[in-house]
Amino acid sequence: MSEKLIEVKDLKTQFNGKNGIVTAVDGVSFSVGKGRTLGIVGESGCGKSVTSMSILRLIPAVSGKVAGGEILFEGEDLLKKSEKEMRRIRGNEIAMIFQDSMTGLNPVMTVGKQLVETIRAHNKIDKEAAWKRAEEMLEKVGIPSPAQRLKEFPHQLSGGMRQRVMIAMALSCNAKLLIADEPTTALDVTIQAQILELMNELKKTDQTSIMLITHDMGVVAEMADDVMVMYAGKEVEYADARSVFKNPLHPYTKGLLASIPRLDQDDDRELYTIKGSVPDLDDMPEGCRFCTRCPEAKERCWKEKPGLYDVGGHKVRCFKYEKGEALNGGEQYGAESDTD
């Protein structure tokens, strides 16, 4: 693995809930190498977005806080930085694109003005140079007639175009790490294909590291070098993409992969289903958080919390792999589940 750009150790983020404090991210550790893409997958509420907000220190102080852990960006702990230092890091070092490009852009400012504002906030250059730079950036992300587009307002652009502007904005300061939080979820498939293509290209040319947060296993398979699967605020499986897709170990990952209807497979079997639904954050089971839905849960799983075990570089949070190897084979889940 290449040099680590960012390393997150035992991150814990808490929110003030109605019935006391709720831990949304509970001791998550991962790292992103230079020029690599880490895919973070999980269902809604599993803490994947909160993780990225914590890295940029964007959790509003009134509603929650990062309660523990370290976020080492190029060796320095972001949690110890002052707000002023963070302002410099956001955008310059770490940029972020959000799911909904319309809320990310200011509707009453032209695209150009917003881009120039960003560029000038982070670089000491004059307006004209910044405008020129903005035009170059739009061209780079594949927007036709950029000079014209700069004078337009966000609502005049289509969804895909707006997401390109967001990417251009994120890239305009040559950030080393790009956090993309569901960048294509709001887009149509043909536009999604364009944006994914663009992100892959930029990764190659600029050596940007990407943290890609998504719920779409297809997108992850295509983009990511490493994959972290999250469930209810904890990472349950963390390995390179090939191992996760070819040899998933955790029952949740296996179930997730088996429950997706596949375009490339020609069978009419019933889909595998993961029983039930994600438990509430303030009502988590005592032991393994997945035990309520796990087909392989034993008595122990209900009582004790499993650690993150290392199976030849493939990390998994399940007692089955406590000895460092699978106790009973890495069989894939088929469709022979109970008929629900």
Partner: protein
């Protein structure tokens, strides 16, 4: 599938929305949401409708149910033209035609209990005493996998998947023949999505339903449908049996759409056809074939002449000049 008996025959269906008028009230801008659609839905089948946002797939579903009045064209249900039905006749038809909505967070009244929600269609259409109706609600709840004891709870107490089960129960309590499923799983998480898809399949076989299944997700449509129609800017561009469509897509748009879908496997070599540009606005659609602005095979003829749906291989129909 049974003997290909036609349940619904849609002929030349059009739906226009006027978005701007001149000073004198003449239409200035018109959105052609559904533009001359012809299709048949056979008894007992699932017809999938796919397309990107704004292609008119939801409007098509709603127009067939006459929740939206068609501008032109006919809808023939079981041999009777229902386009001219007046209100009361249509109300009676609604027993047979139901709709499952996309967002289970928006389609359930938060102040009604599960029992009241599912019973509402029975109260609207069926006479009979309360006990018989409650009995029927219990029956349908069991069928969709909701424990009977949940009957007196309110929607906010349920997760998305459970709510969608309530929505499905409510749609099926009158024993309809035809159900339009408008993106029924789009708002759900992956692990719950499979549960709802399996449930829809099970109910279809048990109750001998006919589905019109609308979705933007081709993998989901492939899983549930027998035949699939692909829409682009209000028109059906290709319609074929599921296997035929996925193995032998003909229209350039279908090809691009299929190749754009990321497959959850690291070994899938991608021969991707990436389309350039965006979907044009339906207010001012391109002349001729709507797709010619993004099609790499487009010729002069495509710019002027609109291709009609033609049979190319048995029941496989495609609207493209390449297949003349």
């Amino acid at each position: 599938m049974e003997q290909n008996q036609t349940l619904i025959d849609v002929q030349g269906l059009k739906k226009n929305y006027i978005t701007a008028k001149t000073f004198t009230g003449k239409p200035l801008k018109t959105v052609h949401a559904v533009d001359n659609v012809n299709l048949c839905i056979y008894k007992g089948e699932t017809l999938g409708v796919v397309g990107e946002s704004g292609c008119g797939k939801s409007t098509l579903g709603r127009t067939i149910l006459r929740l939206v009045e068609p501008t032109e064209g006919k809808i023939i249900y079981n041999g009777t033209d229902i386009t001219g039905f007046h209100k009361e006749e249509m109300r009676q038809m609604r027993k047979k035609m139901q709709l499952i909505f996309q967002d289970p967070y928006a389609s359930l009244n938060p102040r009604m209990t599960v029992l009241e929600l599912i019973k509402a269609p029975l109260d609207a259409f069926e006479s009979g005493n309360n006990e018989a109706k409650t009995e029927k609600v219990k029956e349908i709840m069991e069928l969709v996998g909701m424990p009977e004891k949940m009957m007196n709870r309110y929607p906010h107490e349920f997760s998305g998947g459970q709510r969608q089960r309530i929505v499905i129960a409510r749609s099926l309590v009158l024993d309809p023949e035809f159900v339009v499923c408008d993106e029924p799983v789009s708002a759900l998480d992956v692990s719950v999505r499979a549960q709802v898809l399996n449930l829809l399949q099970k109910l279809k076989h048990k109750k001998e339903l006919t589905y019109l299944f609308i979705s933007h997700d081709l993998s989901v449509v492939k899983y549930v449908s027998d035949r699939i129609a692909v829409m682009y800017l209000g028109r059906v561009v290709e319609i074929a049996d599921k296997k035929e469509l996925y193995n032998n897509p003909c229209h350039p748009y279908t090809k691009a759409l299929l190749s754009a879908i990321p497959i959850p496997d690291v070994d899938c070599a991608m021969k991707r056809v990436v389309l350039e540009g965006d979907v044009p606005s339906p207010i001012n659609p391109p002349t001729g074939c709507h797709f010619h602005t993004r099609c790499k095979y487009a010729t002069e003829r495509c710019k002027t002449e609109c291709p009609a749906l033609k049979n190319i291989n048995g029941t496989h129909q495609v609207a493209c000049h390449l297949f003349d």
